[in-house]
């Protein structure tokens, strides 16, 4: 199993003719992802890495049976790209692009939630099910197939945690970047629900950071619903109030959203917290290793 994507997932890349689109289409192919085509308006008929390019997502779906898309277009065009993928009935939409206006996402969100599509991101590393499929920009080779599921608000921090797990012989069922923005298509609970039902996932790691209350809400949910062990890491212990720490969502404002609050919420709800990525990996290992 694994969640969201697997060996059968058929992927297109929106923005495939751009520098990053081409590079990551190639990287995903190398990893073994079934990339079946790409979309760039006005470039119909071209080829990238031997893959056909289409004008519209709907055309690409008709020709290739794609059921997932990776969006790698500039931010001003990303909301459009999401709407288009939704309209074409794509099951899994992974929006890598960062820098979407929050108000644009506040309109996308209710529509995507009412649709048949699942949106991951924006501002995400993507999703990987090690050994099966990756839709995203993460380095594939640091991952190992296994039984730990990850849901994270941060890309490179997840790589650090994955590397620490893999070095200790702990593989991952899937790793999902939910995205670093204040409004993302799928939250921690959406992903936790999938891990709960996934027979290949025996433990879950939540990688959170300062800002908002998603971690606290997820902790409540975990206590009420999750029997599998859950581990947590929170970035931003040293962050000052009122400063945005890179991600649009990572900001402590009005004394809310501190690392301390989140760590306390995790610990109070039975989630084991690692103070740093190594300690986290050690805790996971001693529980399930």
């Amino acid at each position: 199993m694994s969640i969201i994507i697997d060996k059968e997932t058929r992927v297109i890349v929106q923005g495939i003719t751009g520098r990053e689109g081409t590079f990551h289409a190639q990287q995903m192919l190398q990893y073994g992802t079934k990339v079946v085509g790409g979309v760039t308006p006005g470039k119909k008929g071209e080829n990238v890495e031997g893959l056909p390019v289409f004008d519209f997502v709907s055309e690409a779906v008709e020709a290739t049976d794609a059921n997932a898309t990776m969006i790698l277009v500039p931010a001003p065009f990303a909301p459009d790209a999401i709407y288009e993928a939704m309209e074409a009935g794509i099951q899994t939409i992974v929006c890598i692009t960062e820098g979407l206006p929050v108000l644009a996402m506040s309109q996308v969100y209710p529509r995507v939630r009412a649709s048949k599509s699942r949106l991951i991101g924006p501002n995400t590393m993507g999703v990987i099910s090690p050994g099966k499929c990756k839709i995203g920009i993460m380095p594939g080779h640091i991952h190992e197939p296994g039984n730990v599921g990850i849901a994270s608000r941060s890309g490179t921090l997840t790589y650090e945690i994955v590397q620490n797990l893999s070095r200790r012989g702990i593989g991952q069922s899937s790793a999902v970047g939910i995205g670093g923005d204040p409004i993302v298509g799928s939250g921690f609970i959406d992903i936790l629900e999938l891990y709960k039902e996934d027979p290949e996932t025996d433990a879950v790691i939540i990688v959170g950071e300062i800002g908002g209350t998603d971690e606290e809400i997820a902790a409540d949910w975990v206590q009420a619903n999750m029997k599998k062990p859950v581990f947590g890491y929170i970035a931003g212990r040293a962050a000052p109030e009122g400063k945005r720490m890179g991600h649009a969502g990572a900001i402590i404002s009005g004394g809310k959203g501190t690392a301390k609050d989140k760590i306390e919420a995790f610990e109070a709800h039975g989630i084991q917290v690692g103070a740093n990525p190594e300690e986290l990996a050690e805790k996971v290992k001693s529980t399930i290793g």
């Binding site: 923005g15 003719t17 751009g18 520098r19 990053e20 689109g21 760039t40 308006p41 006005g42 790698l72 277009v73 500039p74 931010a75 001003p76 065009f77 692009t97 960062e98 820098g99 206006p101 929050v102 108000l103 644009a104 996402m105 506040s106 309109q107 969100y109 209710p110 501002n123 590393m125 920009i137 380095p139 994270s152 941060s154 890309g155 490179t156 921090l157 790589y159 590397q163 670093g180 204040p182 409004i183 990688v207 908002g212 209350t213 890491y233 970035a235 931003g236 212990r237 040293a238 962050a239 945005r244 720490m245 890179g246 649009a248 969502g249 990572a250 009005g254 103070a275 740093n276 990525p277």
Partner: protein, 409 residues
């Protein structure tokens, strides 16, 4: 990952589609808070009643503006910080003479470490009632939310802590927008007088439009005042703009003023880097916001003191690395630099070349601790062979080494 449009291009002018060009050489916006005087100007343009209010940079200017008003005025320090009243940054003045003196006292004043460079000269209002009113994004419902309270005049956090039952919250459908009847439902809970309810509802609809049309992350009026003549007036204003939306708000860019920001942060922003000043002596350069936060946290866990948060962003270039080192090494507090790169989309050889290039361009004997892993790692190792820069095998060892160096100096 961040993409930028071609220089100055607007959506409509681009032929078909713009493609990711990964050029991060353009300034990257970090945040954009408006000063009160700028917010008042936007309010006035948006049909939100405001008292006469103009900005002054000198006591003489404050005097002239007060003479123009011909009434009692309030002189208010313009800083991005709460608590200016307590710090003596707000003074009443009956006459132009008094206004000049008040401005003289306030200009140049330090409020929580920020120097006051401008004051607002605002007509004093005869206040009957103080209301709190704001629109922001509610991260839980992921929708715009109107917040209001009849207990205005103090910070919303204080109202929330002391009298949470006095905060009215109204979540708005982002597609339908805030309708007039909805605005009335909110303002009917704030005023007894029907005329005031209607006036405040109009004002709230206009405030919501400003929030949406200006791509704001916050619009706040505190206090919203009912004066003795029955007028509903915004006596103070706070507006934060979503920096991600500035590409479609070109007219708001003119409001960007960096007069009270940290100089290193301003410089980093101009150079396209994501930088936050901290107080310590270990400079940090990291790829990715989460890993950058984790690096700063780990330094503290080991008893060290980070000098900054710096996220290189989703791509790498030699030039960007040189600029980052230039800013960090230019900070006199910094004793050592920890470069922590776990490369996915970043390329390790770019980082290595950047460090070598910076060594040539920047005079500094501060040691650089380098953790470098991921994409093109081998190429980076080859570049660094024979130099004094060693790659530490893990993040923990990198952090430990940097903390030890900083302590020994």
């Amino acid at each position: 990952m961040c993409f930028s449009l071609d220089n100055g291009a607007r959506m409509g002018e681009i032929d078909g589609f713009a493609f990711p060009n990964e050029s991060l050489d353009e300034p990257r916006e970090v945040e954009m808070k408006l000063y009160e005087y700028q917010a008042m100007e936007l309010f006035a343009r948006s049909g939100i009643p405001t008292p006469f209010s103009r900005v002054a940079s000198s006591p003489e200017e404050a005097r002239q503006l007060t003479a123009e008003v011909g009434k009692k005025v309030v002189i208010k320090a313009q800083v991005h910080m709460g608590g200016r009243g307590k710090a003596g940054g707000v003074k009443l003045a009956e006459t132009p003479d008094e206004a000049e003196k008040a401005a003289e006292a306030i200009l140049g004043m330090q409020i929580k470490g920020l120097t006051v460079h401008k004051v607002l000269v605002a007509e004093a209002i005869d206040i009957k009632n103080e209301i709190y009113l704001s629109v922001t994004i509610d991260r839980v419902s992921k929708r715009p939310i109107v917040m209001a309270s009849a207990a205005g005049g103090v910070e919303i956090e204080q109202i929330a802590a002391e009298t949470p039952e006095k905060i009215i919250k109204y979540i708005v459908d982002p597609i339908a927008g805030l309708r007039s009847f909805e605005a009335r439902k909110v303002t009917a809970q704030l005023f007894e007088n029907q005329k005031a309810v209607g006036k405040a509802a109009n004002l709230l609809v206009n405030l919501y439009h400003l929030f949406i049309n200006g791509d704001c992350s916050l619009v706040e009026i505190n206090p919203l005042v009912l004066d003795a003549d029955g007028n509903v007036i915004a006596a103070d204003g706070k507006v934060d703009i979503d920096d991600n939306a500035l590409y479609r708000q070109p007219e708001l860019l003119k409001y960007r003023e960096a007069i009270d920001e940290d100089p290193n942060e301003v410089r980093a922003r101009e150079l396209g880097l994501n930088y936050v000043s901290l107080d310590g002596d270990i400079g940090c350069i990291v790829n990715g916001a989460g890993l950058a936060m984790a690096t700063v946290d780990w330094i503290q866990l080991f008893g060290g003191s980070p000098a900054n948060f710096l996220d290189l962003g989703g791509s790498s270039s030699v030039a960007k690395m040189v600029r980052a080192l230039d800013i960090i090494l230019g900070n006199p507090k910094v004793k050592t630099v920890l470069v922590n790169i776990l490369a996915g989309i970043t390329r390790c050889d770019d980082i290595a070349n950047g460090i070598l290039e910076a060594r040539k361009q920047i005079q500094s004997d501060k040691p650089i601790v380098l953790r470098l892993a991921g994409t093109n790692e081998e190429a980076a190792q080859a570049l660094l062979e024979g130099t004094d820069i060693q790659i530490t095998p893990s993040m923990r060892e990198g952090v430990q080494t940097a903390v030890e160096i900083a302590k020994s100096k």
